[in-house]
């Protein structure tokens, strides 16, 4: 196998790995949310539950002139805390757009935050690409790490 073919296979493997990540998580999303109940919500943040295993963002929407409170499921807050994002980062009153699916229990106003953005379409937070922010000491510009937590 030549180098190019080998690398192609490696990339395919990496792609499968990335797709395969969906195999694990704290819970199976399909068990909690209803694929037959898609929703698009726009409203103001009224509360953030910055908790594990999932963050919940509470927003107030208006339906038929009446306010409704929806809870939107996100991921673990720990990864964002390490990037300096806290519960205070998103201010109460911030208007956001959410698309996702309602819980299978339709008596609850809860949904997964399939895509959570500001009203101009920007993502609510940014993922870390690692470019310029390595943690493993292999970037020569990075000071050598010693284990913390001592």
């Amino acid at each position: 196998m030549n180098t190019r073919t080998t690398f192609g296979v490696l990339l395919l493997g990496a792609g499968l790995l990335l797709a395969g990540r969906s195999v694990i998580a704290h819970h199976a999303f399909g068990a909690e949310f209803d694929p037959n109940a898609p929703i698009r919500l726009q409203g103001k943040v009224v509360r953030l539950e910055w908790v594990n295993p999932h963050t919940w963002i509470h927003i107030e929407t208006i339906k038929d002139g009446k306010p409704e409170i929806w809870m939107i499921e996100g991921g673990t807050p720990n990864t964002l805390l390490r990037r300096g994002v806290t519960r205070e980062t998103v201010k109460v009153g911030t208007e956001i757009i959410v698309d996702g699916y309602q819980t299978k229990d339709h008596s609850l106003k809860r949904a997964n935050g399939r895509d959570v953005t500001f009203t101009d379409g920007r993502k609510l937070f940014m993922g870390s690409s690692g470019t310029g922010a390595p943690k493993d000491g292999r970037d020569p510009t990075e000071a050598p790490k010693k284990p913390g937590g001592r």
Binding site: L10, H27, R40, N112, G148
Partner: protein, 351 residues
């Protein structure tokens, strides 16, 4: 993370594009690394043992099992750089703005698979699966598994397959949503969804651990679900019928290597189908100021056709490990159960 089918295709396409566009600058950077060669002496605890204490990360983009068709365990620096760039590019792509006028997602589901369950999971920014190819002894690795030579978990035995079938038969007729205890241990906040032993990354988030040593115990705290493994130094395993959540770990020192043997795993959360007769032997060897080389061997002749061994670099991190209090905020568990009841009513399938 949006696990839509189209995005899965975009991942593959994006990786392929990235392969052709790998930045020469990045390749050069990695050609210079890893070359930290400062004089270093093993830090030691007051009783003279290697000091493994502190916080470490086992996050990596190197998969546990090598991709089918890849023969080499060791990648070139160029191949590693391209894989890392493809990973970074994918994150950047998923950071891009969405259409503010987007409609609700498709009726009937968005086609996402796996845990995303046809409803698309959540945004990628919640995840932190690792950014780098694993480097062990200066080698960029294509898989964490180093033996068997194909880098893959060995085939399961006929006995293991028969056991899995018997388990499915025993579960037949019981709905998976009929009782809280029928739900997975991770969903119940009892253990992480990744294995506690061996310390394989979950490729999702919070791949951090803290080691604390005393002369007679070593504690390994995993961030996920705040699981603390307590390793006794010396002694023998507890009776076979005693099955702690994370198994029973006893350790000893072989020179400067901490060797930990774990058996007595609980049957409720098997590792690749192995639990009852599973034995995992781990070797922790600190190789420089910032690295523990972690090697694990998995044995269970009733499940695997042969043992297998892997290696993972634990990199020192000065990041904080945050509490992962899971049960207290676990809306998901009640949502899953009440969802099943509500759906039964709506669909007229109430038992």
């Amino acid at each position: 993370m949006k696990f839509t089918m189209p995005s899965a295709f975009r991942v593959l396409a994006g990786l392929a594009v990235a392969a052709g566009l790998a930045s020469p600058a990045i390749v050069t950077l990695h050609a210079q690394a890893p070359s930290v060669a400062k004089p270093w002496t093993m830090p030691r605890t007051p009783d003279g043992k290697p000091d493994l204490q502190g916080t470490w990360s086992n996050a990596t983009i190197t998969p546990l099992e090598r991709a089918q068709g890849v023969t080499n365990l060791v990648l070139s620096a160029d191949e590693a750089a391209r894989l890392e760039k493809a990973t970074a590019d994918r994150v950047e792509r998923l950071n891009q703005d969405s259409d503010p006028n987007r409609p609700a997602p498709p009726q009937g589901g968005d086609g996402s698979t796996g845990a995303a369950g046809n409803v698309g999971g959540y945004n990628n920014f919640w995840l932190d699966p690792g950014e780098r190819v694993a480097v062990v002894d200066g080698q960029f690795r294509s898989s964490l598994i180093i033996d068997p030579p194909d880098g893959r978990v060995p085939p399961t035995t006929p006995e293991a397959r028969a056991r899995a079938q018997a388990r499915m038969k025993a579960m037949a007729g019981r709905g998976q949503y009929d009782h809280p205890e029928f739900r997975p241990l991770a969903e119940r906040c009892l253990l992480s969804f990744g294995p506690t032993t061996p310390l394989v990354p979950n490729y999702f988030y919070n791949n951090n651990l803290q080691i604390v040593q005393t002369p007679d115990h070593v504690m390994i705290l995993m961030e996920m679900v705040h699981d603390a493994r307590i390793v006794r130094i010396g002694g023998t395993h507890v009776a076979r019928h005693i099955r702690p959540w994370m198994g029973d770990s006893i350790g000893h020192w072989e020179g400067d290597t901490l060797v930990v043997e774990t058996t007595n795993f609980p049957l409720q959360q098997p590792f690749r189908g192995a639990a009852e007769n599973l034995k995992v032997t781990e070797r922790f060897r600190r190789v420089d100021a910032g690295t523990i080389n972690y090697r694990f061997t998995v044995e269970d002749p009733t499940t695997f056709s042969r043992p297998f061994t892997g290696e993972i670099p634990f990199r020192a991190t000065d990041e904080l490990i945050y509490e992962y209090a899971c049960h207290e905020g676990n809306y998901a568990m009640s949502n899953v159960l009440s969802g099943a009841r509500n759906e039964e009513k709506r669909l007229g399938t109430k038992k």
